[in-house]
Subunit: 346 residues, 2 copies
Amino acid sequence: MNNPILVEVLRSSLVESRHRGAVAVADGDGATALAIGDVTTPIFPRSAVKALQALPLIETGAADTFGLGDEELALACASHSGEPGHVAGVTRMLAKAGLDATALRCGAHWPMAQPALVALARSGEPSALHNNCSGKHAGFLCVACAKGIDHADYWRPQHPVQREVRAVLENLTGATLSDDRCAIDGCSVPTWAIPLQNLAHAFAKFGTGHGLAPERARAAARLRMACTQKPWHVAGTGRFCTEIMQLFGARVFVKTGAEGVYCGALPELGLGIALKCDDGAGRAAQAVMAAIIAQFLPLNDAERTGLMRFEHQTLRNWNGMEVGALRVTEALTYCAFGEARTGWDL
Amino acid sequence: MNNPILVEVLRSSLVESRHRGAVAVADGDGATALAIGDVTTPIFPRSAVKALQALPLIETGAADTFGLGDEELALACASHSGEPGHVAGVTRMLAKAGLDATALRCGAHWPMAQPALVALARSGEPSALHNNCSGKHAGFLCVACAKGIDHADYWRPQHPVQREVRAVLENLTGATLSDDRCAIDGCSVPTWAIPLQNLAHAFAKFGTGHGLAPERARAAARLRMACTQKPWHVAGTGRFCTEIMQLFGARVFVKTGAEGVYCGALPELGLGIALKCDDGAGRAAQAVMAAIIAQFLPLNDAERTGLMRFEHQTLRNWNGMEVGALRVTEALTYCAFGEARTGWDL
C-alpha cells in the first residue's frame, strides 16, 4: 500500500521534497475517527510511547516511594534535549533511588537540539545523563529499586521491569507483542512494532482512562498531568512537544518518537492519535501532528496561530530570506471530523 | 508518477522507514544508460552542481589571475564542513582577490557535521567563512574581481557573475532555465530546477569534456582533477564525497546537494549520474550513489568494501549495539548496465 503524500516542502513555488505517511485517530473503544494510509501494519513507535512505558513507575508505587514530583515524572516520559535542567532532574531522580549516573545503561550522546549541543560543547562532554532517554531509564531504575529487584540488567527484555512494560503496552494497545516484532531501541531497551490504529486506541485510553482498570487510569492521569504541566521537561527549549503542551496545557498530550513518529491524546474529545512518516522525517511528522490537532480541537486565535507555525512553516535561509515553505497537503486538510479514509494515494 | 522505494531502513528484521527516489545515468550524448523513476520533472540540484557553477572561475581566467591552487579550486566546488583547514583555505582565496570575509554574502551557520560543530563551539562562533558554501562564494567574488566588476551584489540573479553561471548551466544541461524554475538557495544565490536526465547528461560532459567547447572542456578537467586530488576540501572529515573520492581518485567525481541530491561522473565510462530522494534524505541519497557506482564501475575488493559501507550500512545505537541496517532495494540492485527502467513502483 502506498501511503499518501502528507507534507510538501516548497522552494519558491515548486515542490522540492515530499513526505508520505499514515495517521490514525481513534476513540477509547478503538473506533476509528480518522485513518489515512496504512494504519494496520506494525510500526516502531520508539520514544512516542514513553508515557506508556512509565505507567509501572506509578502503578508499582515507586514514584511515591521515592517522592517523585511532576518534573521527574515528566522526565520519565521525556525525550529531553540534555539541557542543564534536564540533567539536574534526572540526577535528582536517581539520587532519590539511592543511585547515580553509573546505573544508567542508555549510552551517551550529544544533545540533538543545536543550541543545547553548543552549550554542552562549551562546558564539557555528554554523559548518559544527557541521553534524551535518561529520564525513562531513571524511571525504570526507580521501579527496580522500589521492588527490591537487582537493577543491573533493567534494560534487557527478560528483566522484570521490561516484562512489566511489555504487559502494559499489550494491555493498552490490544496488540500481541510477539518476539518477531521486537527490536532494540536507540537506548538499548526493547521496542515493539505496533499498528498505528492500536497506538491511537492506546492513547485514547491514556488520555481518558476509558477502558482501563481504575489504578491504571489514575496512573495515566497522573503522568498526563505531569507532562502537560511540565512540558519543558518532556522535550526542551523550542521543541515541538514542549511548545504544543505549553500552548494547550491539559487539552493536548503529544510525544515524539524517532523516525517520524508522534503519538498524542485529545482528552476532551476522548481521542488518541498516532502517526508516522514513511521516511522517518521529524520535520514532516510535527507538521502532520499540528494539522491533526487543528482539525479536531476547537481553537482560539492564539492556538490556531501557534499550530499554523508548524503546519505551514516558512523556510528561511542563512541570511533570513524567505526561500520556501513546508505545508501539509490536501490529504490532511480536507479530512473532516469523524471521516475515515484509507488508501488515499495522491 | 510514484518513484520507487530505493532505500529501506531496517530495525531488527523489520522495515522501519523507506526512501523513494529517482536516478538518471547518461552518456555525453545524453543517451540514457539508466533511468529509475521520474527523471524528467525538474528538481533543484542545489549544491550538487557547484562544480558547474565554478566553471566561470577557470574560464574567465580568474583562477590564474589570482593564482588559485587545487585546494582553492576544490573549495570553490565544495560543501565543506567548516573545519579549520576549510576556513583557512577560503580566507586565502579571498585574500588573493584583495578581499576578506566581509565580502561574503552567504550567511553564517554552524557546521553540519557534529565533530566540526563541537570543535567550533569550543573555539568560537560561526562566521560566513564556516558556511558550507563559502568557497563557492569566494569563487564568485574572484570572478567579479578579475573582471573588474562591482562585487557587492555578486549573489543576485541579475549580476553578471550569476548570469554567466546560468549560461554555463544551460549549456551543460541543455535545459532552459526560465525564471519560473528559479528559487533562492540556502546561501542566497539562485538555484534552478533541472530534470535529472539533463543533470546526468551535464555531468557526463563535465567528466569527459565530450560535446564541450575546448576551453570549457579544459576548465571542467581542471576542476575535476582539483576535486578528486583534494577531496577533503570538497566536503570534510568522514563525509561521503570526501571518502568516495579518496577511495577512487580521478575515477569518480561525486558531489552532494541539499534535500537528498547527488550528482557525479564516471569519466572512464563516459557517464554522468544524477539522483534525488523524494523526501530530501541525505542518508538514503548517499546509499543510492554508492550502489550506482558499484553497479557501473569495475571494482577491486577494497573499493567494493568501501562502497558497501554506505550501500548496506550497519546501524548501531548509543551503546554500539547493532540495531538494524540501511540497505538499497531491488529497484537498484537488479539494475544491469545499459538497462533503462522507468516507472518502477515497488
